[in-house]
């Protein structure tokens, strides 16, 4: 074996054991084989048929799971509780939404070669934010750059000023709230409170046909798996051990000669970029993005997903995002008015009885019976 093959082999062994890899393979099989087969090949009416509803729902939840992973890296591993991660998600969504709006071309209500809301506002030309937005590559770049830069600048000042704990959480909450108010304004240039919707095409291909949906679904699944492996690579590296050390004893890590600001800044920015990518995958599947995504409650919900699944485990973040959003889509259909009570109750019960979340139940149960 060459040295590169050696390195890859040792990295594979480091990330997960045999059981972990086989679980991941099973998960990939469901996403990349079962879903396309049951949605595209199996005819409707057959008991194995999966409707577009399920494809969109699971695709959406996978986007949330990427956000939860990003949250777990900063909260579970580094001890930084962000209550503003919804902002980075929404910014990624808006960046890619611009491209989708441009893809509508002149098929909008007004048959103009401009998004409907601009025509409605009597604008004759695109504002500067929309420069080059008809280019896929440019918007894809913005998806990464905008959340990344904002996080970097915000993090630089916050971490350098040694803002920590609940103060940091409150400021992130204020940040997303301020951004929401900004995006509500028509003058900001992103469609005000209606945001972007009525997408028609992506890369020239109709966006609502089953094949496009399945492609977006598969890309989201692949991104989720890549995000999990990247996260796993990080937390099993020396860098990851330093993050956890910052969480547990920041003072000591400084006296060991590490600069915690640099470490926090790196993971914080990476986390924001992951959220941005998740947002960009979310918008074409769900078909809408508006400032509501930046509401403080949305960001708090992200923290709840991670708490429910289990902090500092990565897998727990995915499980938590799945469980809470699964429950949400059930309750908001069956008993819409009770969902927030249920969410609150879940959070309280998890905090009281499952400090390590759902994935921690097994070890909790084992310890008790031992």
């Amino acid at each position: 074996m060459g040295p590169i093959a050696d390195r890859i082999a040792s990295a594979i062994a480091r990330l997960y054991g045999a059981r972990g890899w086989s679980t991941l393979a099973a998960f990939a099989l469901v996403l990349f084989v079962m879903f396309p087969l049951c949605n595209l090949v199996v005819p409707p009416g057959n008991p194995f048929y999966l409707s577009a509803y399920w494809v969109t729902l699971v695709g959406k939840i996978m986007c949330y799971a990427i956000v939860a992973l990003a949250m777990d890296l900063v909260w579970g591993y580094t001890g930084i509780l962000s209550l503003g991660h919804g902002l980075f998600f929404a910014l990624g969504g808006y960046a890619f939404g611009m491209y989708l709006m441009r893809q509508i071309g002149s098929d909008g209500q007004y048959r103009a070669n401009m998004p409907d809301f601009m025509v409605f506002l009597d604008w004759n030309e695109f504002p500067w934010q929309w420069w080059n937005s008809d280019q896929f590559w440019w918007c894809a770049l913005l998806v990464v750059l905008v959340p990344g830069l904002l996080a970097y600048v915000f993090g630089y000042f916050a971490f350098r000023s040694r803002i920590k704990g609940v103060y940091f959480s409150i400021i992130t909450q204020a940040l997303t709230y301020a951004a929401m108010l900004l995006f509500f304004r028509n003058n900001t240039g992103f469609g005000g409170n209606n945001g972007f919707t009525d997408f028609k095409r992506i890369l020239g291909i109709p966006i609502t046909i089953p094949e496009t949906r399945m492609a977006l679904f598969a890309i989201t699944g692949a991104t989720l798996i890549a995000a999990l492996l990247l996260g796993r690579y990080i937390v099993t590296s020396k860098f990851g051990r330093i993050l956890a050390a910052i969480r547990d004893a920041e003072q000591r890590i400084m006296f060991c000669g590490y600069d915690p600001i640099q470490y926090k800044l790196f993971i914080w920015t990476l986390s924001a970029v992951m959220c941005g990518i998740a947002g960009a995958l979310y918008v074409p599947q769900v078909g809408i993005i508006n400032p509501g995504e930046m509401s403080p409650a949305n960001s708090i919900e992200i923290a709840i997903w991670v708490a429910v699944g289990g902090r500092g485990t990565l897998v727990g973040a995915i499980v938590g995002a799945g469980l809470v959003n699964g429950a949400k889509s059930f309750f908001t259909q069956a008993f819409p008015e009770y969902w927030l009570y249920v969410l609150g109750l879940i959070f309280i019960l998890v905090t009281l009885f499952m400090p390590k979340g759902v994935v921690g139940l097994w070890s909790q149960w084992k310890n008790r019976s031992a």
Partner: protein, 282 residues
């Protein structure tokens, strides 16, 4: 043990034949590399610190020689821990100067920079990474390139493993290498923190109550270790355990109300009427 001490030995101060002393000086400051040519490793002059009107340090002046083992004693509130905070950058002095070697101005540096320059600190309450294993605690504190980029792709080299193993033996935790550090006994945690300090290969070690909570046997071994480290490292030990101080001390400094009350050999300090008054009196 002997090999350990050798591997921890500080490099001899470089010869400075250069005539251009000023340029040399700037260069040394730029590189943050302390210059110990004059034999002094730590130099505090006229340091004052006050918290909300409480004068924690009051014109404190202190000089520690290269290779010295200095014990610092004093009643509660004498300013011992504040002094360590000032040296390590945790607290900023209101006035006065603090130099590491004769060129590194500690007052302008962050905690991280001070640690990198070669000052290691053990806290009063053992501060280790409780959720990491003993091995990982030593790995993280090991002298190395501590930037993000390096940490992301770092892989332990075999000589680094050897050094960790050596330190594990020295602090007698080789059987507990893979245990979670939070489960160690109090004395073991103290030793682990000392081990972490040694992994850093600092030139100056500040040890705040290192034997608190240790058994007699552990205390004795700590004394042996410190005495063996002196010479190659400089040590400043703050301790309440007078038997321990008497066992290791060469020079003792007595702090009282934020400044130096007396300084000298232990037996002379124990008979100094001012020291006795501070400890027993009023």
């Amino acid at each position: 043990m002997v090999a350990m001490e050798e591997s921890l030995g500080i490099e001899p101060a470089p010869e400075r034949p250069s005539v251009d002393a000023a340029a040399d000086f700037t260069r040394a400051i730029e590189h943050g590399r302390p210059d110990f040519a004059h034999g002094v490793i730590l130099y505090l002059d006229d340091i004052s610190v006050s918290f909300d009107g409480f004068q924690a340090l009051n014109k404190l002046s202190l000089a520690i020689d290269v290779g010295e083992l200095r014990c610092i004693i004093g009643p509660n509130g004498a300013g011992k821990t504040t002094m360590m905070d000032v040296i390590t950058g945790k607290t900023r002095a209101d006035s006065g100067t603090a130099f590491f070697g004769q060129n590194v101005d500690l007052r302008e540096m962050s905690e991280t920079e001070i640690a990198r320059a070669g000052i290691g600190r053990k806290f009063q309450k053992p501060t280790i990474f409780e959720n990491h294993t003993v091995f990982e605690n030593l790995e993280l504190s090991m002298k190395a390139d501590k930037r993000v980029r390096t940490a992301l792709f770092a892989k332990l080299a075999s000589d680094e493993r050897d050094r960790i193993a050596e330190t594990l033996r020295l602090i007698r935790l080789d059987d507990a290498a893979d245990n979670v550090a939070g489960l160690l006994s109090h004395g073991q945690k103290q030793w682990l923190e000392i081990g972490m300090l040694l992994m850093q290969e600092p030139k100056l070690l500040l040890l705040d109550e290192p034997v608190a909570g240790m058994s007699d046997d552990e205390t004795e071994r700590t004394a042996e270790l410190f005495v063996s480290l002196a010479g190659k490292h400089s040590l400043v030990v703050v301790e309440h355990d007078m038997a321990f101080v008497a066992r290791i001390a060469r020079t003792v400094t007595v702090l009282h109300e934020g400044s130096v009350l007396a300084e000298g050999p232990m037996d002379r300090m124990q008979n100094d009427p001012r020291v006795i008054e501070v400890y027993l009196g009023r």
